[in-house]
Symmetry: C2
Subunit: 712 residues, 2 copies
Amino acid sequence: MSNTVDRTNVTDTNDEVAEVADVTERVDTGPIDVRPGADRIDIEAVRRLLLGSWPEERLASRELAARPEMQKIEGQPYPEHRERALEQLRMLVEDGQVHRAFPTRLGGEDDHGGNIAGFEELVVGDPSHQIKSGVQWGLFGAAVLHLGTEKHHDAWLPGIMSLEVPGIFAMTETGHGSDVASIGTTATFDEATGEFVIDTPFRGAWKDYLGNAAVHGTAAVVFAQLITKNVNHGVHALYVPIRGEDGGFLPGIGGEDDGLKGGLNGIDNGRLHFTGVRVPRENLLNRYGDVAEDGTYSSPIASPGRRFFTMLGTLVQGRVSLDGAATAASAIALQIAIEYGSQRRQFTAASDSDEEVLLDYQRHQRRLLPRLAQTYAHTFAHDKLLVKFDRVFSGVADTDTDRQDLETLAAALKPLSTWAALDTIQESREACGGAGFLAENRLVGLRADLDVYVTFEGDNNVLLQLVAKRLLSDYSKRFRGADAGALARFVVEQAADRAYHGSGLRSLGQTLKDFGRVRRSVGQLRDTEVQRELLTDRVETMIAEVAQRLRPATKLGKAEAAALFNSQQNELIEAARAHGELLEWEAFTEALEKTEDAGSRQVLTWLRDLFGLSVIEKHLAWYLIHGRLSPQRAQAVDAYINRLVARLRPHALDLVHAFGYEQRHVRAAITSGAEQERQDEARAYHRDQRESGTAPIDEKALAKPGRPSLTV
Amino acid sequence: MSNTVDRTNVTDTNDEVAEVADVTERVDTGPIDVRPGADRIDIEAVRRLLLGSWPEERLASRELAARPEMQKIEGQPYPEHRERALEQLRMLVEDGQVHRAFPTRLGGEDDHGGNIAGFEELVVGDPSHQIKSGVQWGLFGAAVLHLGTEKHHDAWLPGIMSLEVPGIFAMTETGHGSDVASIGTTATFDEATGEFVIDTPFRGAWKDYLGNAAVHGTAAVVFAQLITKNVNHGVHALYVPIRGEDGGFLPGIGGEDDGLKGGLNGIDNGRLHFTGVRVPRENLLNRYGDVAEDGTYSSPIASPGRRFFTMLGTLVQGRVSLDGAATAASAIALQIAIEYGSQRRQFTAASDSDEEVLLDYQRHQRRLLPRLAQTYAHTFAHDKLLVKFDRVFSGVADTDTDRQDLETLAAALKPLSTWAALDTIQESREACGGAGFLAENRLVGLRADLDVYVTFEGDNNVLLQLVAKRLLSDYSKRFRGADAGALARFVVEQAADRAYHGSGLRSLGQTLKDFGRVRRSVGQLRDTEVQRELLTDRVETMIAEVAQRLRPATKLGKAEAAALFNSQQNELIEAARAHGELLEWEAFTEALEKTEDAGSRQVLTWLRDLFGLSVIEKHLAWYLIHGRLSPQRAQAVDAYINRLVARLRPHALDLVHAFGYEQRHVRAAITSGAEQERQDEARAYHRDQRESGTAPIDEKALAKPGRPSLTV
């Protein structure tokens, strides 16, 4: 550690903070341990913590991703990139890890959580083959597995698992993405031949953005409105051969290449349309709905709405895995920016000859360290999501409520982590300046590939609205019939761990009114319970407020009720975001409890505080408006964040190294050690010149004859 | 306009807002004109306003950018893209507009403002040839023009103007970007031969990221530490031939290709290094510093520091033009998203059969319309910057203070508009969903190309820190020797128009104390003076607070003073941002005064209010902490923004069309009319089915026997 690093510790006193923050109300942030080294983290221990519940699967997948043949070639023209990604899928088959989620009897392992953990780490090699493998085994294969029945498994899964049949997940249409229930493609049962006839009735009903559709896919799971005996039973999935031996479309099928995209160009996205395409009745994936030979429809789920959501719910793993992959990408970006920021120097400030390391600048710390804290929070929250997912899909805990909770949790976390990835990668790229813009330093490629994560597998805004509706519905169930006064007095009685075991409102058991004590008595913003109260209260209050404003809706006509709901849409989505932030904070706090050594626990507590306080700072106006924080207390938040980033700065490298990615994963030219060599060489050159007296005299020194030259 | 659009007007009453916002303190936002059409803008009039002071130059350049051969081919491999961009530069020569800034006697027009206005619009065709032309004529050529003298102009400008000599602006080094004064390259005068000897002393001093360096450049303006008679006179520029007839490097010169980048891949960026490269004494661009035959150094500017900043100041046009180009890119992105959002439908809400247009959703309005308001503000602010630039460079008003003001203004606006461009293009891309991710819809390419605008020609954070230092220095000059009490009582006496005519603190002449009246008496957040007070007060107070905290610095040693300054760095940069936001708001407000027709004035006033209130909302915690807004008033800001976006929604298309870009400029597949056709076709299909009775019966309708089917 350099002198400048030590300086951040030396000046870290209450006096300085009070002066800097100019707070009129003194904030007690507790005693500070300034013993050098006393609070270093145990990198290995933190690494194990971050690896979560499937460490072996993650490490195995990282080994794979470290092989050069599994890595992206930046700038490769997309036709070749597509072939390379297909070749990489073949290597994944050879490796076998992508079969983990499939049935043991077919060569899989029935291991759902481990499968996703391994899948997520593929993003390190190339997000294109990651997502392409997600299309093949996570969507196309998973649809056959979860929507089909044993005969389908036997017939099609072997070819899917071996990649003999590269497949297409044909759900989205040009005209309908988020609103899957309204897709236009029809599958009409023809009793005369015992076949389904698949049709695209208009241009907007073309299937679109489908991976493997432009070139490689030979079969598809096609989602269509199932019509039999002139009744539309809603969206169902059918297995449909698409291309023949010669690679050309089969009769009645047409399509287009989506061409170049903003990223993920190793995937051949494309469009498909169908004109009178016939498939046997047996090709209907019939777990949740079937058509008999005589055209009679039957389903184990009577309600068409519930049936639809159950079918779609089996595909939640896409969202789950994007949450983890996005977080991994954020970690790599931060490792690049923080390593570079720890070596690169610019401008002298504290001395005449020594330039400052970028990460010693407060602004640089404020740009990178809160995002590091956030990435830790996302990592811990993701592991909890993955455990929940595994319990549902393994059947350990898979009630309807469990499934709904899982979907709500995924819908809350995926938007936050995918947006955070774009923000974090971009800030990292800017923090590396011009070097950050070069493809050889990986940040621009990573950002381009991750871009679409925020709108696919559920548009982030739509997902958050789903979460908000769930929160609102949970809330309404509790308060049905209660008047406004009762609402305000109500004690939210949910258990403290309901956040992950349920999905609903997170609370501590206070009355809403009682939150006033935060304002009156909070002594320490770094107190875990204070942070929890502040974050929890905000979610609850926002939902309660919106619920109250929506109460007239029941008495309104459809159009007026829709207008009223629309007037609350922005606030609702913000409430869902607040819920997600609370879940992340809870996960981080829970992880702290698993940290055994004092150094790690201390530093991770600062990092958790930085995360919590950064969230509170983002919504500071809300806390002020609602009287949860006094102006003095609110002002101290910024000062406390400045203290935290200065405290964490000496640990920044340890914290990124704890993610466990090595240079063979990170692969940025500026993290190869070259920057440190350049800095060392330049400093040695200037030092030698000074010491040998060969440096030219600075004109500035000459201009002031009374002042001795710095260089002679 | 659809029914849903009208609905936003119909429900736009004070009662609704009071209910929706749940504000306890009623906000009087004045009477509302709901007559349909009464407040439409005059698109032509607003277009003229947006075109600013050089409309002809902008339109001519747009004509050029509309020619297919001037347009980017998305996904073109970069070696070919580089050749295409060079070819496009040749077409720019033919067209002649890029010669506007050069001397009349050499075939130019001595027209600096018009030159930049035209240059900015080239971003519409392809940002690569725009920036490559900026390298050739705005940096390489401008350095010869502004740092050289007549003999240099005569010798080199004709070849530069004609592109006979593609050139390199060799300033940045691998080790030094923002801190140009510390570059390592040396140019040592050899009295024996009358030559300068150019050397790269270590790897970090390689020139890097230089446009035209990898392939096309045959000469360079090289910035180096000028050393003569063993004295270093600081950074000077020399004209240096780089490549010979055969395209190979001349002796002593080496280099590397920077390879693929995150965008702008039509530019061949590369690295250069020099080993004992000799150029004649006359190759020193000697306007601000010269070396005589005997090695004696002389300069018209005695202070080395001032000389350095004067030389760099001549190159401000890069920042000025990026501000304009980034704003043009934002306008195009918004046109794509708002046109698509006005056609694309998803989910039914207000009826059983009609899906909603995306832009009718409140969230969609909140995502796009504040960014539209911001883009208007940037457009108006940019024109004022350009006028200032033109006055300085034409010599109409070019005192030292004018030059400093220009630099401060550019340094304040360029960061905000370039960051806003990335944010706006990204939000636009997300608002278009999967379609936004396809290269054919332009948003991803535009974002990739604009990315580096935030770190080149001055890293945004560094620029804002420069602005803050200027504000702080202006402030300190006024308060030198004053005690803390005097500071608080001081009346900032600057004239109301000082914002653009000077660069310093913007004020209305109130005492700081007097701002309390905002809290007590403001009746209308939409009041221009209230917005002005709130925005102005924040800049002043932030600077005053930081200044007070920095006062001990004068008594501290260098290291301690640096640490104190560093503790305020984040706040300082935020103060500079606040200053930039105020300048933008002032420019928008001034533009309103030039709006003659009532409809345009009304709608643009809403748009300006949306901009002002959005800025205030972003910093709402500050206003609450500092007692400038009461909690009730602060809460009304969100409600008022919701009202404004609903009011502006029917005008959104008019407002983007007023930018004046046509489909031949915008070129997105989704703005070609195809989406509207698809929607019309799908709606006609469903309508025909309903009317003819051929639609299958919905199972949901069957499931409830008591309820009539919707479709029979």
